[in-house]
């Protein structure tokens, strides 16, 4: 109706002249805008994955470390989970040679290997440089992964694991060849990334997406923070020790109410040694001599499941760790200034205080995290 009225308002000649000029102008302008966007696209059927949203728990950082070139998607996370648990991820298929991320990063140990092996070893038996770190709340690590912070991203770490002689002892090409030949994987890659190509970059991205979902935010302490539960008197006394300078002063490096990650993700020389020979300490990354013997303050969430402790796994139990901080600190020019209790050789806790501190640390156990089915192995792997 409207169109008919428009046609009737002037002659056909006028109309067509106007139309031609208009079309020319539109064409010219469109060409101007789209000049750089006229690459030919292959006519491949692509898939649009579903965005994955991370809900920020109470008190947690709002800044997430999600690279711009690896946005999280439901399908990407799922592919990452499958790859994480697939023993063929090292490029081998013989039953005796399988190794996946989950071989060492076990959910029941907060994605750490746990006791009794201080140094995990790879598929060919070579040990790693350091004890393991758990995969927990890494979406809030701003780019200093590992004990010395040398790894800039989870994606980079996955690629390092593939090639490391102490881990997969493989190559990206070998892994891609193996994975791309397993029925079902190309379709999972298509859903995660739009097309079915299997590449090292995509493998790393998918696993990184899955690891970023491994969030612990439901310990008893979290519930205490949210006002949902009360801690026991012993736990509260332990919390006071944890969070006061005249107590154990753990909070400056390990967080607390104001930092529920229970790590600053920063690096400290905490007074373990008098001689520093490890070529992989923080000094090896920064070149700052004050960083000799410095390592990341690990998260204390689920710490009771992630022994042995320290970068070299020298302590088997939490009792040993508390005893070390209490009585056995070693002063050197490199000790971090936050270790002010060094003047007394340590925090000098009584046996009762040690138990109270340990009781508080155990409120950081997140059983929901340990048993979360979304974090567990898939029921079936592709091709099986």
């Amino acid at each position: 109706m409207k169109l008919q009225k428009f046609f009737c308002s002037f002659s056909q000649t006028d109309y067509f002249q106007t139309k031609i000029v208009s079309a020319t102008l539109i064409f010219a302008f469109s060409g101007l805008i789209l000049l750089s966007c006229t690459k030919e696209q292959p006519a491949v059927e692509t898939y649009q994955p579903t965005p994955y949203e991370i809900e920020i728990p109470y008190g947690f950082p709002t800044l997430l470390n999600i690279p711009d070139d690896n946005p999280m998607t439901v399908e990407g996370v799922e592919l990452g989970r499958v790859l994480f648990y697939d023993g063929r991820l090292n490029g081998r298929t013989h039953p005796d040679s399988l190794m996946s991320c989950a071989t060492c990063h076990r959910p029941e140990n907060s994605f750490e290997i746990g006791q009794p092996r201080p140094y995990p070893f790879g598929v060919t038996g070579n040990p790693t440089h350091h004890a393991m770190l758990p995969l927990i709340n890494l979406v809030w690590n701003m780019g200093t992964y590992g004990w010395n912070g040398s790894v800039p991203s989870i994606e980079a770490d996955v690629l390092l694991v593939i090639s490391s002689a102490a881990e997969f002892d493989s190559s990206p090409e070998r892994v891609v060849n193996t994975i791309s030949n397993i029925a079902g994987y190309p379709e999972l890659f298509r859903k995660a990334f739009g097309t079915p190509e299997v590449t090292p970059d995509r493998i790393a991205k998918a696993i990184a997406q899955f690891i970023r979902t491994l969030i612990s935010s439901n310990t008893r302490f979290d519930k205490y923070m949210r006002g949902e539960v009360q801690l026991t008197p012993e736990e509260l006394r332990g919390f006071v020790l944890f969070t006061t300078e005249e107590g154990a002063d753990c909070f400056h490096c390990h967080g607390g109410f104001g930092n529920p990650l229970f790590t600053t993700n920063l690096f400290y020389n905490n007074g373990k040694d008098s001689v520093f020979t490890d070529p992989y300490d923080r000094f090896s990354v920064t070149g700052n001599t004050m960083h000799r013997g410095a390592y990341k303050a690990t998260t204390l969430r689920n710490i009771e499941f992630t022994g042995p402790y320290m970068h070299d796994g020298r302590f088997e139990t939490l009792d040993e760790v508390i005893d070390f901080y209490s009585h056995h600190l070693i002063n050197t020019p490199y000790i971090d200034p936050l270790m002010h209790h060094i003047a007394n050789g340590g925090i000098q806790l009584t046996p009762i205080e040690k138990e109270e501190l340990k009781a508080f640390i155990k409120t950081l156990r997140d059983e929901e995290f340990l048993a979360n089915p979304d974090f567990g192995a898939p029921e079936k792997l592709p091709g099986q």
Partner: protein, 275 residues
């Protein structure tokens, strides 16, 4: 038949194209007139010791108490920076983001380009709060690093450290021990028993700093570069001679030590410099 050109497709299409082109290129057409342009200010936070830029991790300094010491890092908050004009008026700078974090390890925190336009006129002085006032010092208001890592434990008063000045000093016996010169909310302990169960009250230790010699004139269109300098050695002198041998390595639960530090801080720790 008379054609109403305004309603023709040619006119309408041409109009749309013209408007798009104008909007595309309008960003390049800036009319700069200093007489009408607002003035701006950028602050640089610097750290000096004994008149020279602070050197870190070197045991080269001696304080008024005779303690040889080194500085490892300095982290602090200043808030509510105000310009006091000669005509009696005032201007709170960037009131919507009124707490500023400075960290000697993070260069990006050492420059503050004030967003607000400055009013032209004669500034009599600059005043700011060192730390955060009780009204604003709320726990969990900073959930992201690096500000997050300044949190002050709930049992000690909550909120955030005003200052962390970490270093080491040499004792009379020749031992080198760490000191954590941390300022924040103090506690009053009944009977002098330093335990959280004995706390009977808290002390808001934040204080106002009137930057000495901070008068200057703001002209229309002027871009001002100014320096707020921390003179680190003055934390330990004037009016109080702060002695690490007395106060030891940690003072968060020692109000008397924090009080000495705060009294020194409001004197001449901060100075203003502008070319």
């Amino acid at each position: 038949m008379k054609i109403n050109h305004i309603n023709t497709p040619l006119f309408r299409t041409s109009g749309i194209v013209l408007m798009l082109l104008i909007s595309l290129f309008s960003g390049c057409d800036k009319n700069e007139n200093p007489a009408t342009e607002p003035a701006k200010i950028k602050f640089h936070f610097t750290h000096y010791n004994q008149g020279e830029p602070q050197q870190f991790d070197t045991m080269k300094y001696v304080n008024a108490a005779g303690n040889q010491y080194l500085v490892n890092e300095i982290q602090y908050f200043i808030s509510d920076v105000r310009l006091h004009f000669a005509d009696g008026s005032g201007q709170l700078l960037d009131g919507w983001k009124d707490i500023h974090y400075v960290d000697t390890d993070l260069p990006e925190t050492q420059v503050w380009s004030v967003f607000d336009d400055l009013k032209a006129g004669d500034v009599e002085k600059i005043v700011f709060t060192f730390g955060i006032t009780a009204q604003k010092n709320n726990s969990l208001m900073f959930v992201n690093p690096p500000e997050r890592d300044m949190f002050w434990p709930e049992v000690l008063g909550g909120g955030y450290h005003y200052l962390k000045l970490n270093g080491k000093w040499r004792t009379p016996e020749g031992q080198i021990y760490p000191f954590d010169f941390h300022l924040g909310i103090g506690q009053i302990y009944a009977g002098g028993v330093v335990h959280v169960d004995s706390i009977t009250g808290f002390v808001q230790n934040h204080f106002d700093v009137e930057l000495p010699a901070s008068s200057f004139t703001i002209n229309h269109g002027e871009s001002i570069e100014a320096e707020i300098r921390m003179n680190v050695e003055n934390w330990f002198q004037n009016p109080n001679t702060y002695n690490h041998n007395i106060w030891g390595g940690d003072i968060m639960q020692t109000q008397a030590a924090m009080q000495q530090g705060c009294e020194n801080g409001r004197q001449d720790v901060f100075t203003f410099h502008k070319n």
